[in-house]
């Protein structure tokens, strides 16, 4: 199988890479671009630790073929942390006590980020739905809804 050149926009930066047609976006992010924030947990969309945002939508990057991401905008957890400043969602995840082993956290943060991108005032049901693809063995995501609420508050503060 021959490699194919693709262009991705990762965290606002254009990247040109050669990928094998069977390679996942997760592999490209972690192994070609050194972005290890998205984690690997199962390889079949069962745990959500690989969640990243593609054109505004949360996806399992382990099941997302890299070539399908051609020309698309990808945001990973690294992309939220800019100029030494935590994104409101990241700060909220700390303050809501979500962090234990941390392995599920980048994926959960990206699910939260995608939710708020499309829906700045989510209902409890929307929040449940947004995290339906994320497992967390340390706390089962007990504090995640609280983190969403805090993030909304921090975002409003940032705007004012």
């Amino acid at each position: 199988m021959s490699k194919k050149q693709i262009k991705l926009i990762v965290n606002g930066k254009e990247e040109i890479i050669e990928v094998n047609p069977y390679e996942s976006l997760l592999k490209v992010l972690r192994e070609y671009l050194g972005l290890t924030g998205a984690k690997r947990g199962c390889d079949y969309g069962g745990c959500g630790v690989c969640t990243v945002v593609v054109n505004g939508k949360a996806v399992y990057s382990c099941m997302y073929p890299a070539i399908k991401a051609e020309g698309k905008e990808i945001t990973t957890v690294e992309g939220l942390y800019k100029n030494g400043k935590l994104h409101p969602v990241q700060k909220a995840f700390i303050d809501a006590n979500t962090v234990q082993c941390g392995y599920s956290i980048p994926g959960a943060i990206m699910s939260a980020y995608a939710l708020l991108l499309n829906n700045p005032n989510p209902s409890d049901e929307d929040i449940k739905e947004a995290f339906s693809g994320n497992l967390c063995r340390c706390s089962a995501g007990y504090y995640w809804p609280e983190a969403i609420k805090l993030a909304i508050k921090y975002m409003k503060q940032r705007e004012s």
């Binding site: 690997r40 947990g41 079949y44 990241q90 962090v99 234990q100 941390g102 995290f131 063995r137 007990y142």
Partner: protein, 791 residues
């Protein structure tokens, strides 16, 4: 410490103990900067892959690796022939790192490959041909002890064992690999006196840890004939020991380094792919990385073993348990699983600590079967046995017309008295139970939500206690750096509990300096870190915390002695606090810590005067044990042979409200209160996180979890078919930490990492209460509930 001094210690205003300090690992974890074992890459690194057995029991007749070897990109292929003739284990040395002649479960390693890419390695593994001669297999512990059962380890009696914790096999029983007995009083006589007898059989399922970071290691064979092993582990030091056995290499030739660990829950307490990667690295002279797939985590690593528990209780009319007789069968799998065979056999019996019947006879049998090996899982034995014991309490209460809280209170081990093993009780069991009860009642009153058909409400409690094992030890080293920062060296890994933060807080407290003035330096590297047993058994806060307090106090004394000359003051009158050494009788006599050695810069650079740095180390160790025949600290003649069986207990009281749909069998946990006695809370945020996390896992185990097998083949080794609790299934959880000081805990603290899991023992009671039928096995699958309802 006497009681008065203890109370004073607890009541004094703390500098930072008890404050909700932000975790020091929070920021790297939310930005994606935290590096886990899974993330590591090295120059020239190869990728390893394991070939697993495809049958549950058999002899390896032939392995053909030629096709794999000729695949381009393959750098090495190894089989049982390439490994030392040495078995490894922690307690019982019963396993080769790759099967040599015989396989005993599906998942066991039979060969391995190192290749340029993971894809090539996978292809190569599929090209390896293995021919087996199948042997009869056995999957049930009570089948495996029958006289005509297939014997998994005919040479068991010849295997090496640990010197300190060898298994006990006092009689011949097929496939028995460990046994424990507790004999207290005379159950025969107590049964005769009993007004009621309740006898039941309980079953628990096979549970997988399902930590989200699969095991991952990079092993490097170095030019000087040493190995460097980067791996995701809860125990760098034990791992080094097991590796040394498996590889037949002295421990001083192995260095184990562990970065952040993406969860462990007991699974990462033994070796898996590490020795295989070591051999592959030695063969190829290149670093070799092996990451397990999710399916491998389910089938190749350890599990919480399925168990069957026979309990017979005799009680008096007023609800006092007179006799408790237990037979506990552990479906232990094909190998000893590191410390697996010790925790379920030896330590599980500590579940009996909570209550004090007049007499007890307990027997635990750990049995080989052709399934994955047993390994510790958060809450280990008590979480399993207390399911049975707490069910018994409710069934007894019902029979006697007593309140479930009342019957428990009538039977608890009382503070200041001896428990059934002879240990002096310093736990307050009634407090955790009553606190849980009150909090739930208040919650229910506040809400006016009432279930309507087909939902039925049930309330259930559990009173339980998580032991922390002993003997155990932790060492710690603290150093005053020339810049005044206190640098901490510990051998503990951060698997998620927040122990680095809590340990940093303890040092900050001792020196009364802000968190930023303390730095946790080389953590979890056997080359530089002082010894620590493992991150397990809720032991770190007490064990390592104590070692740190001792080390800090030594260092403060050293600093005072060193500063005495400079300040022209008697060291006994000097105090080290808030970044200064200061005289207690003349506060003007003081010096900043960073001024102790530094004299500033000269033209050619910087130099330090005097000692340059001050360093102190301490080891904290606790002795413990039992007389084997009695299972207590007293032998049968009444001589005391040990002071304690375990380090301490963490009492836990749970109150739960569930709603059961009597048409579908579905269960909703509506409200949950988990009360854990933390002794003294070091950091309320961390303690709450542990209680909530343990509770969530406890609900998950009670309601959903079971790894299913058919003839040795796993039916659901993936997240689609093995259900774990998710955020949407969670009720509101009220986490409460009570504080009954542990006399020998740092600042009175106890460990709280596992206790929340004991929630799994309350939910079955609530469900039984809702449906009016007695639940006797977990998980509580809807089909099972419907079956009970139809009876």
């Amino acid at each position: 410490m006497n009681k008065q001094a203890l109370i004073e210690e607890i009541e004094k205003q703390y500098y930072i103990i008890g404050k909700p300090v932000e975790r020091i690992d929070a920021k790297p974890k939310v930005t994606g900067e935290a590096i886990y074992g899974y993330d590591l890459v090295f120059p020239k690194m190869l990728y390893g892959k394991i070939k697993h057995s495809s049958i549950p029991h058999g002899i390896i007749k032939r392995i053909d690796t030629s096709k794999a070897e000729s695949l381009p990109g393959v750098r090495a292929v190894i089989t049982g022939k390439d490994i030392p003739d040495h078995r490894y284990g922690l307690v019982l040395f019963d396993r080769y790192l790759i099967a040599k002649d015989r396989v005993r479960f599906i998942g066991e390693a039979v060969a391995a490959v190192a290749a340029d890419t993971p894809e090539i390695a996978e292809k190569a593994v599929n090209l390896i041909e293995v021919e087996y001669e199948e042997l009869p297999a056995v999957f049930d512990p009570e089948e495996a002890i029958k006289q005509d059962a297939p014997i998994l380890h005919p040479d068991l009696r010849k295997y090496g064992t640990s010197k300190v914790s060898a298994p006990w096999i006092p009689f011949d029983m097929p496939n028995l690999n460990n046994y424990r007995r507790v004999v207290f009083g005379n159950v025969e006589e107590s049964f005769k006196k009993s007004d009621v007898i309740v006898e039941n059989i309980y079953e628990t399922s096979m549970v997988q840890h399902a930590h989200l970071e699969p095991q991952s290691c990079v092993c490097i064979y170095n030019y000087d004939d040493t190995f460097t092993v980067y791996t995701s582990t809860q125990t760098p030091f034990r791992l080094r020991f097991e590796l040394s056995l498996a590889l037949n290499v002295p421990e001083n030739r192995i260095r184990v380094v562990s970065p952040y660990v993406g969860g462990g829950f007991g699974n990462k307490l033994t070796i898996y792919a590490e020795p295989i990667a070591c051999i592959l690295s030695k063969k190829t002279r290149r670093p070799v990385k092996i990451v397990l797939t999710r399916e491998e985590v389910f089938t190749f690593t350890t599990v919480r073993p399925p168990t069957r528990i026979y309990v017979k209780d005799g009680a008096s009319r007023d609800g006092k348990i007179l006799a408790r007789q237990v037979r506990f069968y552990i479906n232990g799998g094909a190998y000893s699983g590191g410390s697996g065979i010790a925790v379920y056999t030896y330590l599980a019996a500590q579940a009996l600590a909570t209550y004090k019947p007049e007499s007890v006879k307990f027997e635990a049998f750990s049995i080989y079967t052709n399934l994955p090996p047993q390994g510790p899982l958060r809450g280990v034995g008590p979480a399993i046995l207390d399911f049975a014991f707490e069910r018994q309490m409710d069934i007894l209460a019902k029979k006697l017309g007593l309140d479930p809280i009342e019957i428990r209170l009538r039977n608890i081990s009382k503070q200041g008295e001896e428990n059934i093993y002879g240990e002096i009780v310093d736990e307050d069991y009634s407090k955790v139970l009553l606190t849980a009860y009150d909090a739930l009642m208040k919650k229910i009153k506040e809400s006016n939500e009432e279930p309507t058909h087909p939902w039925k409400r049930g309330i259930g409690y559990a009173l339980s206690s998580k032991y922390s094992l002993a003997p155990t030890a932790s060492s710690a080293t603290v150093k005053l750096r020339e810049d005044g920062v206190i640098e901490v060296f510990i051998g503990s890994t951060e698997i998620g509990m927040g122990n680095y933060t809590a340990m940093q807080q303890i040092v900050a407290e001792e020196f009364q300096i802000p968190m930023e003035r303390v730095s946790i330096a080389a953590a979890a590297d056997t080359e530089f870190s002082p010894f620590d047993e493992a991150q397990m058994s809720s032991r770190t806060t007490v064990s390592l915390g104590n070692a740190l307090v001792l080390a800090c106090r030594k260092l403060k004394r050293k600093i005072a002695e060193y500063a005495a000359n400079k300040l022209n003051e008697d060291p006994d009158h000097l105090e080290v606090k808030e970044g200064f050494v200061v005289s207690k009788r003349n506060p003007d006599k003081k010096i900043r810590l960073e001024d102790l050695f530094a004299r500033g810069k000269i033209r050619t650079g910087t130099f330090l005067e005097g000692e340059g740095e001050l360093i102190a180390s301490a080891n904290w160790f606790i002795q413990a044990g039992i007389d084997k025949e009695t299972g207590r600290i007293y032998d049968k003649y009444g001589n005391k042979v040990f002071e304690r069986v375990v380090n301490f207990y963490t009492p836990t009281g749970v109150a739960s409200e569930v709603w059961v749909n009597v048409e579908t069998g579905h269960i909703k946990v509506k409200r949950l209160v988990t009360v854990v006695d933390a002794g003294k809370v070091i950091n309320p945020k961390l303690v709450e996180g542990q209680i909530i996390g343990g509770s969530a896992m406890g609900i998950s185990i009670a309601l959903f979890e079971g790894l299913q097998w058919q003839n040795g083949y796993a039916l659901n080794p993936n997240f689609a078919d093995y259900k774990l609790i998710q955020h949407a299934d969670l009720p509101e959880i009220i986490a409460i930490a009570t504080e009954t000081p542990l006399p020998h805990g740092p600042f009175g603290a106890r460990g709280v990492g596992e206790a929340g899991l004991l929630v799994s023992d309350a939910i079955p009671n609530a469900v039984s209460n809702a449906i009016g039928k007695e639940v006797k096995k977990i998980p509580l699958m809807p089909e099972y509930i419907l079956k009970l309802l139809a009876e």
